[in-house]
């Protein structure tokens, strides 16, 4: 019954102002319609998460909530271009969606009465009839519930990412697809499947508590950091960085920090992302090539983001207890941020911080980073010994940064020929064009060393 309208409005924001109806000569009406459409798009971005969250609490699942919110959006697209944007557009959307929700609940209730079933849905429907107070309540918990649901571990990582950007970030399917360089249909399918999985697993719309909350929060943080990282060092494509994705992730992190201010790791993740993002402008050279951390012009680092990152790290530390993996990584990023020049970097402290990360969240990638830090603090031979130990690690078998790190350490030890082979191997392993070029250049430099030596 609802699916046809959903299909019609899924792309509602992507089709642009309905130029098909417009006269050939641009007139005042068309301008007004275009303006209204742009305003609707912006209002959707601002309101959609709250709208979906408020509705999800009442109807119990985010799939239905999203459909209701989309139906309200379609109503806005139909009415605002002619009638003008209402004074309180958010309230208008909520009011419209609320009426649609009441209709839906009444229909469900009638159906349930017919079947003479008494279940949780009926209870919820009865609660739902007092929608005016229910939806207008404090939205903070609803938003948190929305984040936890969109990042539910029952979903694949890809599905969590797509759903989070869609329902919390207010991004369209097209925008998500563009961000991740995959076809629109792939993202659309991921979202449809994610909704189905949540429904089939009977995932309740709620903020989990106790031990479950810890695990579920970890999943939320992972999703946000995945989005950030895809923007920070794109795994594919011709651009090495895609700042828009970093900004989306940062915004999600900042929202989460306000919703869950007592969670130190949320501030830790925000700190990590703010400090890493401060280098975005310095990470890319004039022709789009990657510039590595120690070669960056530190004058180009964004002082505002560094300051915000250090403040977030302080917030995490003030909450007490041992730092979690994100806060520790933020503390490492902070070491770089505080060093006026690359030579001033406190590598021993960075090694100590990596030791702590290894204790808490051991992973081959962290070990590799630690090897780099050890190489800087205690010399390339010590670093290489650690990096060599990772060669047998199955999960790093096709990880391009392992040969890149080994190549770097080998070259510092004067073993140019081995270094060249490593950089070439690294170049063959990355899908990112810019990164491949960088490693090919480094391989060529090693070859030149060899000839000079």
């Amino acid at each position: 019954m609802r699916s046809s309208s959903t299909r019609a409005c899924d792309g509602a924001l992507a089709i642009g102002p309905r130029t098909g109806d417009a006269p050939a000569r641009p007139g005042r009406r068309e301008t007004a319609a275009t303006e209204a459409h742009r305003a609707i798009e912006a209002i959707w971005r601002i309101e959609s998460a709250r709208l979906i969250a408020g509705l999800a609490r009442v109807v119990g699942d985010i799939g239905t909530a999203e459909e209701l919110a989309q139906d309200a959006l379609v109503a806005a697209l139909e009415q605002w271009p002619a009638a003008g944007v209402p004074e309180r557009p958010g309230a208008w959307l909520m009011g419209t969606a609320k009426h649609l929700a009441i209709d839906l609940i009444r229909r469900r209730k009638t159906l349930e009465r017919k079947h003479e079933e008494i279940g949780r849905d009926v209870e919820r429907a009865q609660e739902g009839l007092d929608l005016d107070t229910a939806i207008d309540d404090e939205v903070g918990d609803d938003l948190l519930g929305l984040i936890f649901t969109a990042c539910h571990p029952v979903l694949s990582k890809d599905a969590r990412v797509a759903l989070t950007l869609r329902v919390l970030g207010g991004l369209t399917t097209e925008e998500i697809a563009r961000g991740f360089l995959v076809p629109v249909s792939t993202i659309a399918q991921r979202i449809v499947r994610a909704r189905r999985t949540l429904a089939e697993a009977h995932v309740r719309f709620e903020v989990p508590g106790g031990a479950e909350r810890v695990a579920r929060l970890a999943s939320v943080l992972e999703v946000i950091y995945l989005i950030f990282n895809e923007g920070y060092s794109a795994t594919a494509g011709k651009d090495w960085v895609r700042p828009a994705l970093c900004e989306d992730a940062l915004r999600l992190g900042r929202i989460l920090a306000e919703l869950a201010p007592a969670e130190p790791e949320v501030h830790g993740l925000v700190a990590l992302m703010e400090i890493q993002a401060s280098r975005l402008g310095a990470r890319v050279g004039p022709s789009g090539e990657p510039v590595l951390l120690l070669d960056q012009d530190r004058a180009r680092w964004d002082r505002l983001l560094i300051r915000r990152g250090l403040a977030a790290l302080e917030r995490a530390e003030r909450l007490g207890g041992a730092l979690g993996p994100y806060a520790l990584q933020a503390a490492i990023a902070a070491c770089h941020a505080r060093a006026p020049t690359a030579a001033d970097t406190d590598w021993r402290r960075i090694v100590a911080l990596y030791d702590a990360v290894v204790q808490l969240a051991p992973s081959p990638v962290v070990e590799l980073n630690r090897a780099v830090a050890v190489g800087m603090a205690f010399g390339p031979a010590a670093g290489l010994e650690l990096a060599d130990a990772l060669v047998a690690e199955p999960s790093l078998k096709s990880y391009h940064l392992l040969p890149a790190v080994r190549g770097d350490l080998l070259r510092k030890l004067g073993r140019s020929e081995e270094a060249r082979a490593e950089f070439e191997r690294g170049a063959s392993l990355t899908e990112n064009l810019r990164e491949r070029e960088l490693m090919q250049r480094r391989a060529a430099e090693c070859a030149a060393d060899g000839m000079a030596g």
Partner: protein
């Protein structure tokens, strides 16, 4: 994108009396909403222009001009630095600000040069 909002509050910019507690509460509520939405990067208010200075450049010559400045309508009383996805989003947020006078200017900040 990042946008700078310059609050040109008109006569209020130079007012010696602070806003009423009710008005302050309104501003704070709005500001809180912006922070919760992850929009605000930075915000600040400026002292009246009577405490300000201007430096005029003319070739090698520098002339210092003391405040207060006369073009009240153009005086900035406060600023925000916002992270938004479009100018339209900034416009929609700004329209919700609890002000009843003045002109607020939205300007996009140049970022990621050469990217």
């Amino acid at each position: 994108m990042r946008v700078l909002i310059m609050a040109k509050e008109g006569n209020q910019s130079e007012a010696a009396t602070p806003p009423t507690p009710e008005a302050m509460a309104e501003y704070q509520k709005f500001d809180q909403e912006l922070v919760k939405a992850g929009v605000v990067l930075e915000a600040g208010r400026l002292h009246p222009s009577s405490q300000g200075k201007r430096v005029r450049f003319d070739g090698k010559k520098r002339t210092v001009i003391d405040g207060p400045f006369t073009e009240t309508k153009e005086l900035v009383a406060g600023y925000w630095l916002w992270q938004v996805r479009s100018i339209d989003e900034a416009l929609e947020w700004l329209k919700r600000a609890p002000y009843d006078g003045g002109t607020f200017e939205i300007r996009e900040v140049v970022e990621y040069e050469g990217m």
